[in-house]
């Protein structure tokens, strides 16, 4: 018994020593691995050359520099290797069962592409396979998302009891990734109909949306676009002012200051239909921050309604979107209650993000304005209280960012859970965290109910 114990102890020590031998893998970054290959013997297990080829969508994923991690099934040993130009790595491994995984992130056309994959069935044995595949799943997520929407106005106590003010609307676009985003080709467009509770014909019956399976969505009122190159740094935002880009707090204390030089402004002077003298721009905002637009419907309505707005952002050049606006004969005419309510068809493939906001007092008569492949759900808000629709934080992703260590602020109290029953379930106070230097990744599930909450005070209100 005693002998047996001694033998087992020696074997275990020998195995641990063998396991701790580091330079098992041989890869392109370590072509001259100086560690000698242990000689197989009764105490040293034999090592075998294993190759793992990355694949995606059925083909080799020939991207160099991707780290592939492999670990044995006991979780004791793990190794890394970096792909060569063909997307392949090699390891020297003792016999056993291993799991390999790899992640690769890149940006393309304003979208963040994440390639994730794992192969948990890498069996290494003397006579077994020496080549394995690691299949990567491609996950597309938007770089630019709609972070906050402020359109429903605020109280205006100076004007009298129950008076309100609603010429201070804005939208915040946010780069939800660690990669710089190009917003130059972003266009803004309204969902149809203009207000969610408006009588419309797109809902054929309670279950069927006319354009659910179409390759387009109807767009209301007009399109807006940037006239200059616009870059949004990683985890940063731009504010786009919909109405007057001035300091509204000078006359309405409850409102917001929209005269910051970094802000962008939808220049109503560029659209004959939208010319309205109440719209003004502060001298402080440079002209290359002016947006241009084109009207697609009669009347002077904006793309974003004060009451129950629904709109989307898409990626398209101003020339292309102008062509869509000008193609009157291609407009869809199913929706309206009048012949004037015909809407251009915007290709779904170009839609980046959308919001569908309902008037809380008119939920019963409201209907979704987007097909479920674009957006599901909605969020309801009480008008003219200064509330905004604000994006929830993706808690897991945000906390996973190493640089956020110690910078995240919790116990978020900016929601309207006390009055509207709405708050950010992550509990992270995004604005306070950003102020503390954290990088926030916002929820992006394309489900309004999960992605947004109603915030009590506009995030830019100081």
């Amino acid at each position: 018994m005693k002998k047996s114990f001694i033998f087992l102890a020696v074997a275990a020590i020998a195995f641990m020593v063998a396991a701790c031998v580091k330079p098992v893998p041989v890869g392109p970054d370590e072509p001259d691995d100086p560690t000698p290959t242990p000689t197989p013997g009764p105490d040293v297990p034999a090592l075998y050359d294993i190759a793992i080829q990355l694949q995606s969508e059925g083909a080799n994923f020939a991207v160099e520099g991707i780290t592939v991690a492999i670990a044995d099934d006991a979780g004791v040993a793990s190794y890394d290797a970096i792909t060569d130009a063909t997307g392949k790595v090699t390891f020297k491994l003792p016999a056993g069962t291993y799991a390999a995984k790899a992640t690769y992130k890149t940006a393309e056309d304003g979208q963040r592409l994440t390639f994730n994959g794992a192969n948990n069935a890498i069996y290494v044995s003397k006579n077994g396979d020496r080549s394995f595949n690691l299949s990567l799943n491609k996950v597309v997520s938007q770089q630019i998302i709609i972070k906050e929407v402020y359109t429903t106005g605020c109280p205006n106590a100076a004007a009298g009891a129950n008076q309100t003010y609603a010429h201070d609307a804005y939208i915040i676009l946010y780069n939800n990734t660690e990669l710089e985003a190009d917003a130059s080709d972003i266009i803004f467009a309204g969902g149809a109909p203009m207000v969610a509770q408006q009588k419309q014909n797109y809902w054929i019956d309670a279950e069927t949306l006319l354009f659910q399976n179409a390759d387009w969505i109807p767009s209301y009122s007009g399109f807006w676009w940037f006239d200059s190159e616009v870059k949004i740094p990683a985890y940063s935002q731009i504010v786009v002012v919909i109405w007057s880009a001035i300091d509204h707090t000078q006359t309405v204390a409850e409102s917001v200051n929209l005269s910051d030089p970094s802000y962008y402004w939808m220049n109503n002077k560029s659209v004959p239909a939208f010319t309205h003298q109440k719209h003004a721009v502060s001298e402080s905002i440079p002209t290359d921050h002016y947006l241009s637009g084109i009207a697609t419907n009669p009347g002077s309505a904006w793309i974003v309604a004060t009451n129950s707005p629904g709109f989307f952002i898409g990626k398209m050049s101003s020339e292309e979107v102008t062509a869509i606006a000008n193609a009157k004969d291609q407009y869809d005419t199913h929706c309206g209650t009048s012949a004037a309510m015909s809407y251009p068809k915007f290709p779904k493939a170009n839609v980046i993000d959308a919001v569908d906001i309902w008037d809380k007092s008119k939920e019963a008569s409201s209907k979704p304005r987007f097909s479920t492949d674009i957006l599901t759900g909605h969020i309801s808000i009480t008008n003219v209280l200064g509330y905004t629709v604000y994006r929830n934080v993706d808690k897991e992703a945000t906390e996973a960012l190493e640089e956020n260590a110690g910078k995240l602020v919790y116990n978020y109290a900016g929601g309207t859970d006390d009055v509207e029953g709405s708050t950010d379930p992550s509990g992270i106070d995004a604005e306070a965290s950003i102020a503390a230097g954290a990088h926030i990744i916002y929820s992006d599930t394309n489900d309004m109910a999960k992605d947004y909450h109603v915030r009590k005070v506009a995030s830019i209100k100081k």
Binding site: I246, A273, T287, D329, Q330, S342
Partner: protein, 997 residues
């Protein structure tokens, strides 16, 4: 013209010859009250044939001399008594003819609460008397429309305007209510001098809210072809007669959820002079009515406070013994209007107050001359002055400075702070909150003087009455139009002084011959022919003199009447037919539309740190294009009617066919204009600090210059860009295509069920309206941009209208079943009325007068050029309307649209994209041109009136008392909707009347 004069001369010679041989007698008697035997002073005795009359003196005596031999009908009337009439043969002097009058109350079986046909009229006319008015508790005189055949009860509030619509609907072309004449005691109430009666290109008739309802004695509604003495109307006449003569003190109190009313009236004798001459009778009435729009929020209210005095006297003694002279004079003042100041739902400090004050006076003299060449001379003069001042206090709030324009001369204007005594063409108002009261002062005056001669000849088997006369009417507005009570905070407006508009005069002459031939028994033939000549003169205006002729003819043949066929089953038979033309003068709002100004934003600066923005505008006065070709709207009316009585069941049918010609309407046209625009980009970032900038603009070129307030930096001219734009303008014109209305009205009064003291009336109307507009309509979608991003540069010319339909046809059948139980023994009358809509049909039309297609049917909903030869009326379809022609900014020549569109599709994508914006797509619905039948609906009303002795009576009504809130079905949209759109909600009211003899 010569031919017409020759015919007139022959006609006059014919009737004169009859008068030469007539022998004259004296007819005198005494009028007493049946129950007491007391004389009835002021009772009026009229011999209808020779049109002779007298008024009973204090002893009830009357005397009429110069009565020609022959049959004539005597009519005796006095307020508070049942009218008495009888046909007698005059062949000698008659003395002490005894007439007894019966007091009019519910103890009589003859009491009725429905409109009654005027049996003596050769055209369709109906009268609603005091008993009926009290029974339904009329608060607004237009509510009596519900008592006409097929009439429907309306919402009873006074807080919205009400008009009369005779044989027409509200949402129709042809300005029906505007062309309906309303007279109170012979005084025409008119909107001719009003500038505020237009709405969306149509013109409204007078608002009846300000007419007191409590002292109305009767209302006569002439729906057929009226006498030529009625001018300035084309849809009918509503004659409201107020109480006159000696009456007891009557106090009335009414209440309903929306309206309260209290009134008092009394008519009393002013005694006699020392010579025994009566000083006449003065009738006074006082009414206060307050109405709210909504009982749940009883703050927006309409008040009516009215005092009316009416004096009348007859001079029939001394030198007037054989030529009595009756003079009456009246004056009525009304104070009131709409006020929502107290409404807590309104923004604090804001209000709307609309005065509806008026004063009207009239004097009328009837002189019975009884000469061979003249029977009666009638003189009338009246004046109606309105004060319709509207004051509206509004709050304005702007986060940036705003610019309010008052310039009336063409040119560029840069906004500047308000300057006391300055031009203030473009006033810049600092950011923040301000209040301002804007007013519209509308003070119309309508005056009228007329002289009419009646000449009646009794030729034995015939009576001939000739009336001819002349009248002068003047309409003028003394209001100062739109103004502000504080210029420094006023919103954009321009002075439009109504009082600077010259008066409109109308001089008219008319002649009418009314020939009655007695053809045995009580059968008779009545022929009426008349001609009216109107001349409208507006000195100092572009319109000059406009003349129009209105011939009218009536025919009636009465075979027999119930008076002579008491025992016969077939008791009455008469037929009638009429044709005529009636012309409606325009109102000032037709002739002088409010001048419009096209204010083009030529510059907007960036906002400085204080949110001050400078704006500049090019102001273009849209000088009203006075249409010298404007003709007066007219109606061609034709109707036929028949009245029969079978075993006591009276049946009255009237069919009509009316064509409205040259209806007034507003036309839009476009002009080309080039201006300079300076964008904010042109000044953003200039070296001169925003807070130190002074912006100025060249009034001619539109060039903007930025100067440094401190003088440190040199002025900079901002870069402007040239803009080409179409701008719209308006003018009044006449619709080219007539509007047609035809219909049938029926009243069946079933024989009284004596055992139940009950009468049953079934009345109703079928009405058809059709209008197709054929005028070429210009349209430019100015809010659109062209393909090259310039302002839209094309104008389309559309047949009829730039919408899918250019016309409409409607048909309605409304019927009413009224069951009235009159229990004289307890002096109570109860009525139940079931109002029903059995047919409510409408259809949108898209047609051309030559029968060719206008809107086209699409084979493919998504392809606007996939039009086919199918008819838009063939079931469900998607349609498209193309303009006939179009022109561009650079080339005003009109080009065929469709041809160029198809060419552009193949050859010029830019032109194609631009032209498609002129296409009127009908691809939203496939039912636009389907027939729309609204399912039948019903409403039931209940009314009861009870007299308590001779001192009090009480009335109660409940309209829609089943509280019908059901739904109706539309065959066009295949949807249900609430019936509340068509019938008023459940409503009730109570009235107490006290009478003190």
């Amino acid at each position: 013209m010569r031919k017409r004069l020759a015919i007139l001369t022959i006609l006059l010679l014919y009737v004169v010859s009859g008068s030469a041989f007539a022998q004259k007698y004296t007819f005198s008697g005494i009028i007493t009250e049946k129950s007491s035997g007391n004389p009835v002073e002021f009772a009026t005795v009229v011999l209808e044939g020779p049109e002779l009359w007298a008024v009973a003196d204090a002893e009830g005596r009357f005397s009429i001399s110069g009565v020609p031999a022959g049959k004539t009908k005597i009519n005796v009337a006095c307020l508070g008594y049942v009218s008495w009439d009888k046909e007698i043969e005059i062949s000698r002097n008659i003395k002490d003819f005894k007439i007894t009058l019966i007091e009019d109350n519910l103890s009589l079986e003859s009491a009725v609460v429905t409109a009654q046909e005027d049996a003596n009229s050769a055209t369709t006319a109906r009268t609603i008397d005091k008993t009926a008015l009290d029974h339904v508790q009329v608060m607004n005189v237009s509510d009596i429309s519900a008592l006409l055949p097929g009439g429907a009860t309306q919402d009873p509030t006074l807080t919205s305007e009400k008009q009369f619509n005779i044989r027409g609907g509200n949402a129709e072309g042809g300005n029906n209510s505007f062309t309906t004449a309303v007279e109170v005691d012979g005084v025409r109430l008119s909107n001719n001098a009003s500038f505020t009666n237009s709405s969306s290109g149509s013109f409204k008739g007078i608002n009846t809210n300000s007419i007191a309802s409590s002292n109305i004695e009767s209302v006569e509604v002439i729906t057929g072809v009226p006498s030529v003495e009625y001018g300035d109307m084309s849809s009918g006449v509503v004659k409201i007669n107020t109480r006159r003569g000696r009456t007891p003190l009557t106090i009335t109190m009414s209440t309903s959820p929306k309206t309260k009313q209290v009134s008092a009236s009394k008519g009393f004798s002013l005694g006699h002079s020392k010579s025994g001459q009566s000083r006449g009778v003065l009738n006074g009435s006082l009414e206060y009515t307050r109405s709210i729009s909504e009982p749940m929020s009883p703050y927006t209210s309409y008040d009516r406070k009215q005092l009316s005095l009416l004096w009348s006297n007859t001079y029939a003694s001394g030198r007037h013994a054989r030529t009595p002279l009756r003079i009456s004079a009246g004056i009525t003042g009304n104070l009131g209007g709409l006020d929502n100041k107290a409404d807590p739902d309104k923004l604090v400090g804001t209000f709307l107050k609309q005065r509806d004050n008026s004063i009207r006076g009239n004097i009328e003299a009837n002189w019975l001359l009884s000469k061979p060449w003249i029977t009666n001379l009638e003189f009338k003069a009246s004046a109606v002055y309105g004060d319709r001042l509207q004051r509206e206090r509004s709050m304005y709030h702007s986060a940036v400075s705003s610019t309010n324009l008052h310039a009336t001369e063409a040119g560029y204007y840069m906004s500047e702070p308000y300057s006391e005594g300055g031009d203030n063409n473009a006033v810049r108002i600092d950011p923040g909150i301000r209040y301002n009261i804007m007013c519209i002062d509308d003070r119309p005056l309508d005056t009228k003087v007329s002289l009419k001669v009646n000449w009646a000849i009794n030729g034995g088997i015939y009576n001939n009455k000739v009336k001819y006369g002349a009248e002068w009417a003047m309409d003028k507005n003394f209001g100062i139009g739109e103004y502000t009570e504080e210029m420094s905070t006023a919103p954009t407006f321009r002075t439009w002084r109504f009082c600077d508009i010259p008066a409109m005069h109308n001089v008219a002459g008319f002649v009418e011959d009314n020939f009655m031939l007695h053809t045995g028994g009580d059968s008779r033939l009545n022929l009426i022919a008349g001609l009216r000549w109107d001349n409208t003169i507006m000195p100092g205006s572009a319109y000059g003199i406009t003349s129009s002729l209105s011939p009218r003819f009536n025919f009636k043949y009465t075979l027999f009447t119930p008076a002579t066929r008491v025992r016969n089953f077939f008791k009455e038979f008469s037929v009638r037919a009429s044709w005529g033309v009636a012309v409606k003068q325009p109102s000032f709002s037709v002739l002088y539309p409010t001048p419009s100004y096209f204010d083009i934003n030529a510059f907007t600066s960036t906002a400085d740190a204080n949110n001050i923005v400078s704006n500049a505008y090019y102001v273009m006065p849209r000088t009203i294009a006075y249409n010298a070709e404007l003709a007066w709207q007219r109606n061609q009316q034709a109707e036929a009617g028949i009245d029969i009585n079978l075993g006591g069941t009276k049946i009255s049918l009237a069919g009509f066919y009316n064509r409205t010609l040259l209806a007034y309407t507003t036309e839009t046209f476009y002009e080309r204009f080039i201006y300079t625009e300076t964008l904010p980009q042109a000044v953003q970032g200039l070296p001169i600090p925003a807070g130190d900038r002074i912006y100025s603009i060249n009034p001619t070129t539109g060039r903007v210059t930025v100067s440094d307030r401190t003088g440190a930096l040199a002025p900079i001219e901002a870069e402007g860009i040239e803009k080409k734009s179409f701008i719209s303008a308006y003018t009044e014109h006449n619709e080219e295509n007539p509007i047609t209305r035809y219909g049938l009205e029926w009243i069946i009064d079933f024989a009284r069920i004596k055992a139940l003291n009950t009468t049953i009336r079934l009345d109703g109307s079928f009405y058809n309206y059709k209008a197709i507009f054929s005028d070429l309509t210009e349209y430019c979608p100015t809010t659109q941009t062209s393909y090259d991003k310039s302002l839209y540069k094309y104008v389309g010319f559309y047949y009829g209208d730039n919408s899918n339909s250019n016309g409409k046809v409607t048909q309605d059948i409304h019927t009413n079943l009224t069951i009235t139980t009159n229990i004289p023994q307890v002096r109570m009358i109860i009525s139940f009325k079931l109002e029903s809509s059995l047919l409510k049909y409408s259809r949108s039309l898209s047609e051309r007068l030559d029968g060719s297609r206008r809107s086209l049917v699409l084979a493919d909903r998504t392809d606007l050029l996939s039009y086919t030869d199918a008819s838009v009326y063939d079931g469900e379809c998607y349609t498209v309307l193309f303009p006939d022609t179009y022109c561009s900014f650079d080339d005003p020549t009109q080009k065929p649209f469709l041809e160029n569109l198809e060419w552009a599709k193949a050859n010029d994508p830019e032109l194609y994209a631009d032209l498609t914006k002129l296409i009127v797509s009908g691809t939203t619905y496939n039912y636009t041109f389907l027939k729309d039948f609204i399912s039948p609906y019903f409403s039931a009303n209940f009314s009861v009136t009870k007299e308590i002795g001779d001192i009090a009576s009480i009335s109660f009504y409940a309209n829609n008392f089943f509280n019908n809130m059901g739904q109706v079905y539309s065959t066009k949209t295949k949807t249900y909707s609430s019936v509340s759109s068509f019938i008023p909600r459940f409503y009730y009211g109570l009235t107490l009347r006290l009478k003190f003899n």
